[in-house]
């Protein structure tokens, strides 16, 4: 394996992934609104777009820490641009980045392909859920309460649904982001 020490080229590629991620994150707000119009339970299916920063950075740089820093950088730029989320984007960026990084860590930092992107994207969904539980707990509580009231689902089942939807969305967009980044890097 090549040196794990970060070079200036790696940081420049991190900047590239940050810029691309910021554009995707900015556009993701409109996709989120579109899915929200369908209903609160459809929302998690669109969140995978917000995990692509980590996957693009990791696939381009192929070094430990790239997934975390890529997600964090995209989130910081998203906050500076700005978007409606303000600095909460950074909270999401940190948590999603940690879990995406965990995905590559579990693979021993040896795989940077589409499968690794899908796994990291799926795991980033756990970070998103944790961040939403902290920042917008009222939304989750309302969804959870209604689910149990109408007898469709218990709060636990809602968490499982939320996680599964995040994982599916994250894996899908993660795989696409990894494929695009691999193709661009050549």
């Amino acid at each position: 394996m090549a040196s794990r020490r970060w070079t200036v080229i790696d940081f420049a590629l991190l900047g590239v992934s940050g810029a691309v991620a910021a554009v995707i994150f900015y556009a993701a707000w409109y996709v989120w609104d579109l899915f929200s119009a369908v209903g609160p339970l459809a929302r998690p299916l669109s969140v995978g777009l917000w995990f692509t920063g980590s996957i693009i950075a990791a696939t381009l740089i192929k070094k430990p820490g790239a997934a975390f820093l890529g997600e964090l950088l995209g989130a910081v730029i998203e906050a500076i641009l700005p978007t409606r989320g303000g600095f909460t984007n950074v909270i999401y960026g940190v948590l999603q980045g940690i879990f995406a990084e965990l995905g590559y860590r579990l693979l021993g930092y040896k795989r940077w392909d589409i499968v690794a992107g899908a796994i990291a994207g799926a795991l980033a969904g756990v970070g998103e859920l944790l961040a939403t539980l902290v920042v917008y707990r009222e939304i989750f509580q309302a969804v959870s309460d209604v689910g149990s009231e109408v007898g469709l689902a218990s709060p636990g089942a809602i968490i499982v649904y939320w996680l599964a939807a995040n994982a599916v969305s994250g894996a899908l967009y993660g795989a696409i982001a990894a494929a695009a980044a691999r193709s661009a890097r050549g």
Partner: protein, 247 residues
């Protein structure tokens, strides 16, 4: 480009330092996340959210109607999901009940506070000054600061490249608005390839100019008069959220 930033903070005569404003915005964000009490969130929205929205509207006008849509969406979602309890008011045949109203107010005030804090910073600070402040005053790692500065520089270039790709697509008879996955692929892959290539060569150039050997510069943040106002507001909001002052 520079003239667009001329009214923003960052110069040596600015009334508020960039790092103080950043810390203030982060502090209000933490406070807004920490509390669910509508009165406390209302105070944050009034002190920081509203001024942030007013300042942000000048520069990012499109965000404010979108924010309004978010607030309306929250209300409709809560109405759909949680319209139980005593009636609060009615809109025609629609009766809005206590739980839906209480949760809407809490969530919307939080969204206002969060967006206002972000807009307060983004609309008054030049992004390049923000990066400089983060690096030399607040100690952000140099490599990350370089990546952040480079990404901010890349954004207008990516936009310019996008215009060119769109123009070429039009000349070749592709549809103007991309619809299919293939359309998006043909739009974004050239963009990504060009941007990655640019990144690699910028990295090589920076390395050749001795970026790694450049000594690290740290500057102690200078306290300015406006910082005192921010400090007072930050303490006041902290006390209110902690329940030591106010409603």
């Amino acid at each position: 480009m520079r003239s667009g930033y001329s009214r923003r903070l960052g110069g040596s005569r600015a009334p508020v330092s960039v790092s103080a404003l950043l810390l203030y915005s982060l502090w209000v964000t933490v406070l807004a996340v920490a509390t669910s009490d509508p009165w406390k969130l209302g105070f944050l929205a009034l002190v920081t959210g509203l001024p942030g929205l007013v300042l942000g509207y000048r520069r990012y006008g499109v965000l404010v109607p979108l924010l309004g849509l978010s607030l309306l969406g929250t209300f409709l979602n809560m109405l759909l999901l949680y319209n139980v309890g005593d009636p609060v008011f009615s809109i025609g045949p629609l009766v809005v009940r206590e739980e839906a109203w209480r949760r809407t107010v809490s969530l919307d005030l939080r969204i206002l506070s969060l967006a206002g804090a972000g807009l307060l910073f983004a609309s008054t600070v030049n992004p390049r000054d923000a990066v400089r402040s983060l690096e030399v005053e607040l100690g952000m790692p140099r490599g990350f600061a370089f990546a952040l500065a480079f990404a901010l520089r890349l954004l207008p270039l990516v936009y310019r490249d996008l215009q060119e790709v769109m123009a070429v697509r039009r000349m070749r008879g592709y549809r103007r608005v991309p619809i299919t996955p293939g359309d998006y692929r043909s739009l974004f892959m050239p963009l990504l390839s060009v941007t990655v290539e640019r990144g690699i060569w910028v990295g090589v150039a920076a390395e050749l100019r001795g970026f790694s050997l450049r000594p690290r510069r740290r500057v102690r943040p200078r306290f300015r008069r406006g910082d005192l106002v921010l400090l007072v507001l930050a303490v006041l909001q902290g006390l209110v959220v902690a329940g030591l002052a106010g409603p």
